[in-house]
Symmetry: C2
Subunit: 539 residues, 2 copies
């Protein structure tokens, strides 16, 4: 029923064309479709892959748009971002139905993710309206200083230039077309060229239309946003190597992110790539908590591991404990509970194919015990949740076991003692999150374990689950490689804007020609760092 | 006389050994000397190149030291940095004489640079004592929130890990052993392994000794600092590829910086390299200013071009004007004035060799006119200052003319009109600085020229000279590639600490176990961003 509605409306709304700034364009002859994993059929609409000419047009338009967009005030950019949120909402149920038809995800998730996406856009708008995010820093002159006069120097963040954003398979709204990367780049003052994710090209096109409508309504320059269809890797590579592109945002696999990082680093003029990639999100289960609350924790984690069919980058794929009867009980409860849950649909046959393949690769390793493996019949493209367990030494000696299995899968590592547990942590690759499940006194008792975990992750959680990434300024979503390509930035929260800006200094510049953020009068009333002090004062 | 004093004292002070943490070590059999360019002789002391074993020892010690150094309070790190400054000063005239014997630079410069270096160290100490630099960001919990409770999340900057700092040839104090990169990395909480610059290995060893003394006096862990001798590229490459190294700071040539950047990017776990590299620092001479003040500007720039024998990264190597009688007069005055100045000594025969070679390469290009070329006899290793001029179209069509000639050399490009001037700017590579010499009304009249310049540089100056980089928070020393490898960071000023830190989030962490910066009580009284507001309040 939903699908019929969608398909009917598609004829008026979805064309399969690229957005090259305010124009639609479909010059190429390579087309592709999206896929409905629940119905296990291709959707009707064909999308036309962007050509090299269209890529060049989009980048050239973005470069031209940058000249005026980088001068827009915070208020003007905020109005633009709020308008995008409004236009997305105005797409109504048609957009939600299309999202569902391209992902197999339930309506609640679609609406929740839409809300998150709108919330991200408005959080950047609020940041822009307040204005202090530019980190205005002023050192006033002292022309009488000996032996050398001190000049007036004023610094603030300015945008880098056109940014390429790669849509993510697992967040068609929140980390794709108008998602966190796009919202933060536009907030920074950078035009965005989105490489649409092929699995939800229709959703991408509709959201792009919302962005373009918002751009027109708020008088943003043509080229401030483009959306390019692409089913393979060529369009992405052409974009990342294009001299007009100044930065790249990516959410996806380690293989994909690293390839883009390498390509960008090999340019004549290298550019930054912020890629948020794989993570198995280790969870450390300390002994007392295991004894006191092992069953409750097991039930909670059965839910966290299967949430969204395990298709979250913060999915807890690795649970580390110290051998004990309580740990055995925890493993048994987790295994019993997780198979009680109804398997759910993955995003695409490719995704579930990878899940089964990667899981199989792990299951073939020596020393592994399968504790839970959903055995009932499941609907097409639905994933069977799986829990395995392994000894600490086996894990340490086999890095295949350290690889992410994207889906509802988790491995419990049973260590002999705290020292082996610490060694396991020290041998992990960089992770988005680390979680400690323990009693308060255990945090101190196992302080070297906790220190080791902190050193490998971007966010550490006490007695919670890693899934559910709050959108707030204090959130760090990123971490040591390979969870991200640069641990110095976050992909979530308003501080993610820092990926797309550079500090810029004006020396002895006339006050009336300075940006408002740096003028003596502080017309925006922002917090500034003046002569070593944070203040909202005028000069 | 000075040299004798130096050589006598060397016997007690300088050993030619590496500092591996608190131990001296000279396991290798490859040795080299530094060179006195004024006397044109090798200095006596032989320095022993670090071996692979010593490199591994230094990195392992640094990794071990990191575990405790990253927990030192801001106050403790500040005490350490201030102690380094004190120990450097305590080295007295012996250090100054040694510096001079290895660089040919005058005493005033040596003492001035020592003061700058001490000032940098104490500016980071002040930053640490105040404490707000960690960008503490707190979002408090709302456990009643529907549909999902909001967890308490708190974020602050934490150090990356061991940092390798490459000594710079042109700043033996301020951008080498205890220079800006080291000071900022130690302030961040990162142990430093310095790859000593071979041209001033003795100065490097003495300053290292000062750092080690300070580290011992202030109870810093063994391995918080090491200094490795190296005359070639091998030690640097081994350091940058070592898995224990987490970031790299470099000041030097584009060729060297890019090589390190590429090596670091190709690691299994890529690490950030901040390299501050070449720049020709374009100066735009607008017509009215040329007419009104051309002669004065010419005299000022004769001084700026030859300052420190042109061995500053902000040396104005390119002057862009629009053809006019005034511009001709400016060129003539600049040429007349610059040859009146006494040539001075370059740092090393290799440096003057490169200067002569690079200058010759430019002089061989078609369409170039030599306007000034110091013709008198000069002392050994002293550089002849040179001014050349070229047409805008010639410059546009020959990128050889865009390359840096490190030394007292500058090229005046005579453009036909403002449009050609803008085109020239748009074709420049990224630069540390850009300068506009103009009357106030000309900034508006030539706004597209100014916009173009802003887009290519890290710092823009109105009616001044680019040489003289003030050490202050508002300074941006860096810029678009290739002036630096990452325009999002500065190499000068306290904000340079941001290169060596990453944000880290604690979720639902017990208050008493949080770092002081994030505790409810705000015991350090720092400014924090709490629930979207900057405040020094407790929670």
């Amino acid at each position: 029923m939903l699908l019929n509605i969608t398909n009917n409306k598609k004829q008026t709304m979805i064309t399969g064309e690229n957005h090259i700034g305010n124009q639609r364009s479909a010059m190429g002859d390579k087309t592709y479709t999206t896929f409905n994993p629940k119905l296990n059929i291709e959707n009707n609409q064909r999308f036309t892959e962007a050509t090299s000419e269209e890529i060049n047009q989009a980048v050239d338009l973005a470069s031209e748009a940058f000249k005026t967009f980088n001068k827009k005030s915070g208020q003007e950019k905020a109005t633009f971002l709020r308008a995008i949120a409004d236009e997305i909402l105005a797409m109504g149920d048609e957009l939600i139905a299309l999202y569902q038809s391209e992902t197999g995800l339930p309506e609640g998730r679609a609406k929740g993710e839409r809300g998150r996406t709108m919330g991200q856009l408005t959080s950047f708008a609020t940041m822009l309206e307040e204005g202090s995010w530019v980190e205005a820093t002023i050192d006033t002159a002292d022309l009488d200083r000996k032996p050398i006069p001190k000049q007036d120097i004023r610094k603030m963040m300015v945008p880098l230039g056109p940014v390429v954003v790669f849509g993510a398979s697992n967040f068609p709204f929140a980390y794709s077309t108008a998602g966190g990367d796009t919202a933060s780049a536009l907030a920074a003052g950078c035009p965005v060229i989105c490489k649409s994710h092929p699995m939800h090209a229709g959703t991408g096109e509709m959201v792009s239309e919302a962005i373009i409508r918002a751009a027109k309504k708020t008088n943003m320059p043509n080229g401030v946003f483009s959306n390019l269809n692409s089913s393979g890797i060529e369009v992405g590579i052409e974009l990342v190597t294009h001299p007009g592109v100044q930065a790249v945002g990516f959410t996806g696999s380690i293989q994909g992110g690293r390839a883009l990082y390498d390509i960008a680093g090999q340019r004549d003029e290298p550019i930054p790539v912020f890629a948020e990639m794989g993570s198995i999100n280790p969870v450390v289960l300390l002994p007392e908590a295991t004894q006191n609350r092992g069953e409750d924790i097991a039930k909670t984690y059965a839910g966290s591991i299967t949430l969204g069919t395990g298709q979250f980058c913060t999915n807890p794929g690795l649970i580390l404990g110290i051998k004990s009867e309580s740990l055995t009980n925890f493993i048994n409860t987790l295994s019993t509970e997780i198979v009680k849950l109804e398997p759910s649909c993955m995003l695409h046959p490719n995704i579930i194919g990878n899940y089964e393949r990667n899981k199989q690769k792990v299951l073939e390793q020596d020393g592994l015990t399968v504790k839970a493996d959903y055995q009932e019949d499941v609907a097409v493209n639905h994933a069977r949740q799986t829990i395995v367990t392994v000894e600490g030494t086996t894990f340490l000696n086999n890095t295949t076991l350290h690889q992410e299995v994207f889906g509802p899968f988790s491995m419990v590592v049973q260590c002999n003692d705290a020292s082996e547990l610490e060694e396991v942590i020290n041998h992990l690759e960089g992770q988005l999150t680390g979680t400690v499940l323990g009693e308060l006194n255990e945090l101190q008792k196992f302080n070297t374990v906790v220190d080791a975990l902190q050193n490998r992750v971007g966010r550490i959680i006490f007695n919670g689950v890693p899934t559910g990434v709050e959108v707030c300024p204090a959130m760090l979503h990123g971490g040591p490689y390979p969870s991200s390509t640069d641990s110095r930035f976050t992909a979530v929260g308003v501080h993610s804007v820092k990926r797309w800006v550079r500090p810029f200094s004006f020396q002895s510049w006339p006050n009336e020609l300075l940006p408002n953020e740096l003028k003596n009068e502080n017309p925006m009333g922002i917090t500034r760092f003046i002569n070593g002090q944070n203040t909202k004062d005028k000069i």
